[in-house]
Amino acid sequence: MAEHLTEEEQLETLKRWWADNGRSVVAGIALAVLGYFGWQFWQSEQQERREAASILYQQLSESLADAQNLSADQLTAAQSIAEELKEDYSGLLYAADAALLMAGAAVQQGDLELAEQHLRWIVEQNTSEEMSLLARLRLAQVLYGQEDYEQGMSVLAQAQETGAYAAAYAELRGDLLLAQNQPAQAQAAYQSALEQLLPEQNARRDIIQMKLDDIQVQNVAQADEAQAQ
């Protein structure tokens, strides 16, 4: 077709085409360029964010390494790093790990309420199952420490499938039941903990056995009678 047209005619066609489509071509190219740089920018922004969180977390974990000899100031400083991670980087795993570390240090310092806050925060986040089971277990452990046994039981009960955590959950359930004077059920819980211990958890066996042995046969009988009445 092109052969039949003169040069001028060709130029004319091109001009017309440009008048019709020029705007969208330019817009398309601009969008692509913008998209590319935007993506690059977003990527590097992400990477920077992650690295910033990493540095904060590293600071936190180093400052808590010797949690036994932590001063009040150090604890406050660590607490503010943990809060920063939870607020600004809540979507990153660093936030949950920081909350765990902080909860551990808080218990060490006798501040069970602070520990509870951190652990509850993780439970409320949309984390992986293994993380939420872990946080729940520790939260119930803190509640046991606060003698809030019913809450502890209900936190444990909210986990539908305890999976590999079965033994740990069962042991803590035993502790909570016994504290609520239900020795027969506690006995069953400890028994089930022993049966479901993972090979890697064998070091715990003696302690659970000790707790089990301590539940006395006649007490169990008495409590059962009391319940029956």
Binding site: R50, L93, Y94, V107, Q108, L133, A168, M210
Partner: protein
Amino acid sequence: MLQSLRDNLKGAVAVIIVGLMVVPLVLFGVDSLFVNRNNTQQVVEVNGEAITEAELQRAIFFRQNQMRAQFGDNLPEQFISEENLREPVLDSLITRRLLTQQVREGGMAVPESQINEMLLNAPEFQTDGQFDPDLFRQRLLSVGYTPSSYRQQLAQDILLSQHVTGLSASGFVTEQELKRTAALSQQKRDFYYMTIPLAPVLEGIQVDQERAQAYYEEHKSEFRNPEQVTIEYLEVNMDEIAKNIDIPEEQLREQYAQEVAAFEADVQRRAAHILIEPTDDGSAQATLQEIQKRLAAGEDFAELAREYSEDFGSREMGGDLGVTTGETFPEEFEEALAQLEVGEVSEPVKTDAGWHLIKLVNVEGAEPPSFEEDRARIASAMKRAEAEDRFIEVTQQMADVTYNAQNLQEAAETLGLERKVAGPFSRDGGLGIASNPQVVESAFSDEVLGQGYTSPVLELGPNHAMVLRVTDHQEPRTLSFEEVKTEVERTLKREMAIEKLQEMGKQFEQEVAAGKPIEEVAKANDYEWQVSLDTQRTSPQVDRAVLRQVFALPRPEQGSVTEGFTTPTGDYVVVNLTEVTDGNFAEMSEEEKQNLRQRLAGMAGNMSYSAYEAQLKQTADIEKL
């Protein structure tokens, strides 16, 4: 380099993390990695990501090095064989991969600067305290990394350690738990106990035939003889072969002569010379004679060398040429030198350089041992060498001759070996050669037991090989009463004795429970009794079986708790528990408190971390390829 990372970790956390790391903590002593780095065969797929054979090999290799570094040379090689490490190492690689995926999805990252800093400060990569890029590349290459793949692994290790620290080092224990655990673990119990021994009762027991028969009928299923085989075998043992080798005297002497020659070659002679270049007019001869005359008159060789020698290199040194083992100087020179005694000077010797008067300054290197002294060593080495040849030869022949043989007798005669038998033995092995697992496995293999062939040559050790055939095979069967009569009687006797003892014991138990002091009951019946106060769970003074029972007894509410039980040795023990005192956390020393807290917090961290890891594995998609 990761050392600093590791130093910050304590106890259980460190163990977990180090187990997961793949970047070697120690690069020293790793010359090269004997694995095919390009082996991309996939071993397992973890949530769609493959772990390759090459990765596994490298991890096994690092684990081996790690274990060697930790346990030293005492570690049996078999312990760290690839076969034994494969499964556990693969397992930790899977865990590592799962955690890596989690860390990645969780948006964890290490700043480049942190990695740079680590590399720059790693003593492994430094020369004279400075980072050395060449050394860095070289070290990495030796373990199969490129700088970028190494950085990547290092970054992963850092991230894993961050995450695992968060999960595991965060374990804690509350005051409430501490109090409870201390109450139980530090609990003290007061108790009295008497032991009624089994032995005297056992003596008085008579087992009648009828009862034994009845017991046999009742427990027939327990009296089974396992499947057994009897084998015939031929074995070649290098030590045995060596014993029967006789080396003729002349061969020994020949070997000795060779060794002496080699020994001679080791002797170093220090030579000095005076060189006179030949002249056409015969004046050289005259000079030589003159020097010889002056030497004979007792003049110093070195002085004369300075005066006469035309070897400008050695002249100023008094003619000294240094040492030779026999190849340094021209042949004529060396021959003349070898003839000389220390201090002696030779007649003129002609070489291409001219005329030499040679002096042997000294000889270094000892005298070779005499033939008699060396005979035993030479004989044993020669026997050994010949035995090795014969061993290989016989082993080869053994394979050929026995391959299709119907029995081993003929083969034994052909090979000049003794046909031996062993067994019957079961899959659990037997005595002598049947205690070797390789032998047992082969004897029960399908080829040997099922098809009746001769086994392939089994290499039991570097100097020990054998072949075997099964000659008799017994199916598992129930043993007849006659065969097990003694055993039945012994078991029954013990059972009856324990029963009788329990009856006796119950009586004493009742007396004690009724309030009679154990001491009185024991003395009246001439039994041993003991009292143990403030006894802890781990007390070394009391038998473990007794302790275990005592601490499982309920607390006495009023008065005391009495109970009797049979110990694993069959004795009967009556215990009277009078008091239980719980441990008191508040009264423990600061140090004890701290230790307990640390131990329990660590244990709690480990307990929940193991569950985390196991849960991660259970819910992952892991496919072995």
